[in-house]
Symmetry: C2
Subunit: 357 residues, 2 copies
Amino acid sequence: MMYAAILAGGSGTRLWPRSRQQQPKQFADITGAGRTLIQSTADRLQGLVPDDQLFVVVGQSFAHLAADQLPALGPPQIIIEPSGRNTAPAIGLACVHLYHRDPDAVVAFLPADHVIPDTAGFQAALRCAVDAAEAGHLVTLGITPTFAHTGYGYIKRGAMLPISTPQPIYTVERFLEKPNLATAETFLADGGYYWNGGIFISRADQMLAEIERQLPEVYSRLQQIMAALDHPDASSVLAEVWHAMPNISIDYGVMEGARQVAMTPLDAGWNDVGSWDALASVIPLNEEQNYIAQGETLTINSQGNIIYSERFVALIGVNDLAIIDTGDALLIGHKSQMQKVKDVVEHLRRQGRTELL
Amino acid sequence: MMYAAILAGGSGTRLWPRSRQQQPKQFADITGAGRTLIQSTADRLQGLVPDDQLFVVVGQSFAHLAADQLPALGPPQIIIEPSGRNTAPAIGLACVHLYHRDPDAVVAFLPADHVIPDTAGFQAALRCAVDAAEAGHLVTLGITPTFAHTGYGYIKRGAMLPISTPQPIYTVERFLEKPNLATAETFLADGGYYWNGGIFISRADQMLAEIERQLPEVYSRLQQIMAALDHPDASSVLAEVWHAMPNISIDYGVMEGARQVAMTPLDAGWNDVGSWDALASVIPLNEEQNYIAQGETLTINSQGNIIYSERFVALIGVNDLAIIDTGDALLIGHKSQMQKVKDVVEHLRRQGRTELL
């Protein structure tokens, strides 16, 4: 049976000032779609994963946001991480719950903060990945790259596997770290490389077996959590065990060294909205050649700007800016420098301006 | 005896969105001085004009703002214009009140929305102008030009007058319309030309006599208003008479054709804040090379920006912008194009967006 586990633990400071400590980007409507990113992530599964097979892994302090924003999910479907320990423990925790419920569970692990405009394309890729996972593979979706991005890890595909699905399933020859530009360009020219978007599909038991083999420390703690699941002290066991849980990513800790790893391409407009300039890829240009995520705007001699505002905005003679205007903070930056938002956040942190973080 | 009449009738749409129909720029703290422009105009007279010799001419709908912002003024010192009829009737109305109170009144007519950083220099020029006015001249302050501005009228000075004051008094050879750039450059190179800043000083009776001679229609109405001043029906007479008052400027209607016109230079950093980019002339650059009128800011790779904000502002990689951020509207423009703010206001007017005007 197919399940989905949405990983909603990120903090998303790169989308400050809309993404805040109290409301990270996955719980915000960043694209102006009328739905938050986590809601869109759940929407994207409709017709493929029934509501009662959809789970969320989330930190304690955001559990209420997840519950509010995904009212179709019952309390047992909101899996609490006591603290952030990166993706390997989070995925392990989801596997514990799902394996406990259904020893044959096949699970799609999906970051909560991605934008994927082509839902049909996404579901088609996911269906193939599930078939491959049922055939015994740890599957990752390889994002078809659109340019020589240096901010992502890459996946080099290997031979095509003899699994009969509508789109090809490949072995993974190698996971590659973030490349420099020249290397990224050779990847793009080659055609056999994909972005690692952090979307994985596998049987719960197989993922747990890989964690046992490669991360025994994580595994033994997951076992303790699973053993206590039906007991009254489940949450105190979780709290105690989690405290010493190692912090490690699923890529580094499991996928890179896993057996039976496979991939299938995803070419559906995927974007992880890693900074404000990424909105230009997921919002259409309006008639005046600007990208309006939110806000009423009047633009004069102004093009290529990204606008996210809670009030009326007038632009005169400015181009290629990202303008993010929230109740208590205003960010204006050139689109090419939006990665420096982290410096703003760091400055506010140093100054103790927690009300703005 | 010396009086001052502050002319506070303007609407100031060029400083939208801080300047609004309900609160024109003269009633706003545009420069971040902690005082509104009209308050600074009154402050600038301290030590020269006693509070009870200070008057304001203002429209009915802004009388409460004037009274609130200048609490030292009693009700008779707030002179109401029933509607805007330009500067000749406004100055005439002030003369009516002041001549009625003191037939020897000498009056400085001062726009409420100018910035003049050097108060001592301003007062020195004004003292000399008052001496010349007492000697029988209609005096204007000629602003020493700092560049070839094409947005102002100019004054060509004539011969020096034999009036013994600390700074020279000249006859006015000519008032000149706004020049084109080439002409403005010749004015600047010549050295004998000044900006017409709209600051005038004269005896009230002499100004009224010039209005009588040159604008008899205006004068006859002013006479009716004066005749009713002490009567119970003063305000109904004013309302009725004002309705048909011609709309005409003091420059065109009186000064250009007046006898005994004189000028003395004002070189005190005068600025009429005609658009947001003018703030760069009246606010010092901060250490990060930006002009902060109001607002807490963090600037990264950003220089030459003018910021007026009610919230925290972060700039990344942007230069030479004017950023005006109020409760319900945000304006971002390149400093070189801020005169287009009037197009924004016009657009809002056409759309019936009165709440933003």
